[in-house]
């Protein structure tokens, strides 16, 4: 579903050309649960921007859901973002003056179509915020804000959820709650989820870890044990947040 071939991204800093990506070839299939890790400057943010249709590669091709998006115009990229990509950011990136419901409705208003409000309400209920729809961001906790952001990413039924350090601004307890949502999304709904992070703990939730260094993939490992094992490793760390999750995973996870 995501197909990158020799993707190169160059930035021009004054007269110096800086390569941010130096030939990335990568396939991510529908329903994958992937993390892209690397230290800062490794190129993982650039890669996320390209996969998220915020940016175009300098060279190479990028196919998203069967379409080559590497040569699209700005407005075509915006269209692709609205239909295919759901962003979740470290800093939540909610609009301070909008209620939770309005935030979640926003992607739909740019797409047009009917039943926008109902879809937004359903997405909020899915992340457990059915009773907080009319709260503004400053009336919500960090975990709740990130759940609003997740609902906003989900409401357009995208092909991919792209989460950039999704728990970077959360404490361990709420991290577990938010991770729970991502794991359910992937396991239960088969949603393709990509994390971009520098935290190995976050990456350990995923089935596949792609490590970047200096704009190149240095390792691409598929977890030998399913993520359930990874969660159990952290059970002590996160305590009760996991307990509710486990039966769901055991009963509903696809074989």
């Amino acid at each position: 579903m995501i197909r990158l071939r020799n993707v190169v991204k160059l930035y021009r800093a004054g007269s110096v050309v800086v390569p941010a990506l130096r030939g990335i070839t990568l396939d991510i299939e529908r329903g994958d649960f992937v993390s892209i890790i690397g230290s800062s400057g490794s190129g993982k943010s650039t890669l996320m921007n390209i996969i998220g249709c915020l940016d175009r590669p300098t060279r190479g091709t990028f196919e998203l859901a069967g379409h080559d998006v590497s040569k699209l115009s700005d407005d075509q990229l915006a269209y692709a973002r609205g239909r295919q990509i759901g962003f979740v950011f470290q800093a939540f990136n909610l609009l301070p003056r909008m209620s939770a419901l309005e935030q979640v409705e926003l992607p739909l208003t740019y797409r047009g179509g009917k039943n926008q409000r109902r879809s937004a309400m359903k997405a909020l209920a899915d992340v457990g915020l059915g009773d907080r729809m009319h709260h503004k961001p400053n009336q919500l906790s960090g975990g709740q804000q990130q759940r609003v952001a997740i609902a906003r990413a989900l409401v357009g039924e995208p092909s991919v959820i792209l989460a950039d350090e999704p728990t970077g601004a959360l404490d361990t307890k709420t991290t577990a709650d938010v991770m729970d949502i991502f794991v359910r999304l992937n396991r239960v709904q088969g949603m393709t989820v990509i994390f971009v992070t520098h935290e190995p703990e976050v990456a350990s939730y995923t089935d596949r870890v792609i490590q970047l260094r200096d704009g190149m993939i240095v390792s691409d490992t598929v977890a030998t044990s399913p993520p359930l094992g990874a969660i159990q490793e952290h059970e002590v760390l996160w305590g009760p947040g996991i307990k509710g999750l486990r039966p769901v995973l055991q009963s509903e996870a696809p074989a």
């Binding site: 915006a78 973002r81 609205g82 239909r83 962003f87 609009l95 003056r97 740019y110 357009g156």
Partner: protein, 421 residues
């Protein structure tokens, strides 16, 4: 995004920084208010002048010295325009070629206010020297006493008839004025006159009110006042007023009067025949020029207000860079962002326009009828046209000055925008 949602989000956005929104709007409020208030003064002036022309009487022709189109002092004193004489007046009266002319009256007016005193009281008046036909031609009526007769003109009597306000200013009432003596001063000359009548109130306000006037026989004026005579010693008049018996015959009569006078003047057209409509259109043109001038001045302040709005919108765009980045990340296209900011700007200017209309109308109503030390009251008239123009222009200003900031916003790179704090 639907326009309704955009309007709603624009209004809530503007509510966030109320002081800033109010200050931004103020420029438009003052601009629109100024346009409406000042245009109302201009239009009030047009209407006032038109009303004065109507108040002159009905079906009138005016013959004035000087060729048509030539700039002359119509009062005939300061320029060498002594081309109309008593002979012309007599020729018009005797002519058989003027079937619709009812009456002909000769008038000499002193263009500046003259000072008249009686007892200890003083008043400023317009001195009008005329003949026995004047009352009938100009539709004046008497309040008290009597008007000049042919004898007054023949004998060059020192009799005078006062305007209603002048009688009140000098003697307290019309009746009290009859039989009293007044002294009129024309610069170094002065003349004692006896009041034989007082006119009814005419009511026309504004410059040169007809109620602050004094009448004397034209023959007396020409005999007693040195500068009333032309350089050649002829008995010149500054205006001939002709009453036509049928409103449909005004234009044809004007043409007949012209040919009679042409013959009289040996086919040299050194006079102008004007109808009341000519006067009215001249007055209206003056009013129009004034309205446009005042409107343009006010328009400048509206333009300045627009620049203020553009400034604030540019600040707003840079403050909300991150918001723009978020909107783009969730699928907003350039046009979505562009429309959002233009709608916000137009909402500000339209709100400002509404408040400005209210302010302008209030100011126009407040200054209506006041003198402000000018000696004549300022009339204002707010027309739907000026309100419409002001409102429309404020919307256009919003569009015009909103486009650039909105364009900047729409062009922001989403990655950069998301990175800003």
């Amino acid at each position: 995004m639907m326009l309704y949602k955009m309007m709603r989000s624009a209004v809530s956005e503007l509510g966030v920084n109320k002081l800033r929104t109010a200050l931004t709007m103020l420029g438009i409020v003052i601009g629109v208010g100024a346009v409406i208030a000042l245009m109302s003064v201009g239009q009030g002036a047009s209407k006032g002048i038109a009303a004065e022309v109507n108040a002159l009487g009905s079906n009138l022709l005016f013959v004035e010295p000087g060729a048509p189109g030539e700039e002359t002092d119509t009062e005939g004193f300061s320029t060498a325009s002594f081309t109309l004489t008593a002979d012309d007046v007599e020729a018009l009266r005797q002519s058989t070629a003027l079937p619709n002319v009812e009456a002909v009256s000769a008038v000499s007016q002193i263009p500046l206010d003259s000072q008249v005193t009686a007892g200890g009281n003083t008043a400023q008046v317009t001195m009008t020297a005329t003949d026995e036909y004047f009352m009938a031609v100009r539709d004046f009526e008497l309040e008290a006493g009597s008007y000049f007769s042919a004898q007054d003109l023949d004998r060059k009597t020192r009799n005078t008839v006062l305007g209603s306000q002048t009688a009140i200013d000098l003697f307290g009432s019309a009746e009290a004025a009859i039989g009293q003596k007044v002294r009129i001063n024309f610069g170094p000359f002065s003349l004692d006159l006896t009041v034989i009548g007082v006119m009814k109130e005419r009511g026309a306000s504004g410059e040169g009110s007809e109620d602050e006037q004094m009448f004397m026989p034209l023959s007396t004026f020409q005999a007693r006042v040195p500068f009333a005579r032309s350089p050649t010693g002829g008995q010149s008049v500054s205006q001939i007023v002709i009453k036509v018996d049928d409103s449909g015959k005004v234009d044809s009569s004007a043409e007949q009067v012209r040919s009679v006078l042409l013959t009289e003047h040996d086919f040299s057209e050194d006079f102008t025949v004007k109808t009341q409509n000519d006067l009215k259109s001249t007055a209206e043109n003056v009013g129009k020029v004034m309205t446009i001038l005042l409107g343009a001045i006010a328009g400048i302040s509206l333009f300045v207000g627009g620049i203020g709005i553009m400034n604030i919108m540019l600040v707003s765009v840079s403050e909300r860079t991150r918001e723009i980045g978020i909107r783009k990340a969730v699928g907003a296209r350039r046009n979505d962002i562009l429309t959002q900011f233009i709608v916000e700007t137009v909402v500000v200017t339209l709100l400002g326009g509404l408040v400005g209309v209210a302010l302008g109308v209030t100011v126009a109503l407040t200054i209506d009828g006041h003198e402000f030390g000018t000696g004549s009251s300022i009339g204002t008239a707010v027309t739907p046209l000026s309100v419409g123009i002001a409102f429309f222009v404020s919307a256009i200003i919003g569009l015009f000055f909103g486009i650039y900031p909105a364009f900047r916003a729409s062009r922001l790179d989403p990655i950069e925008a998301l990175r800003t704090e």
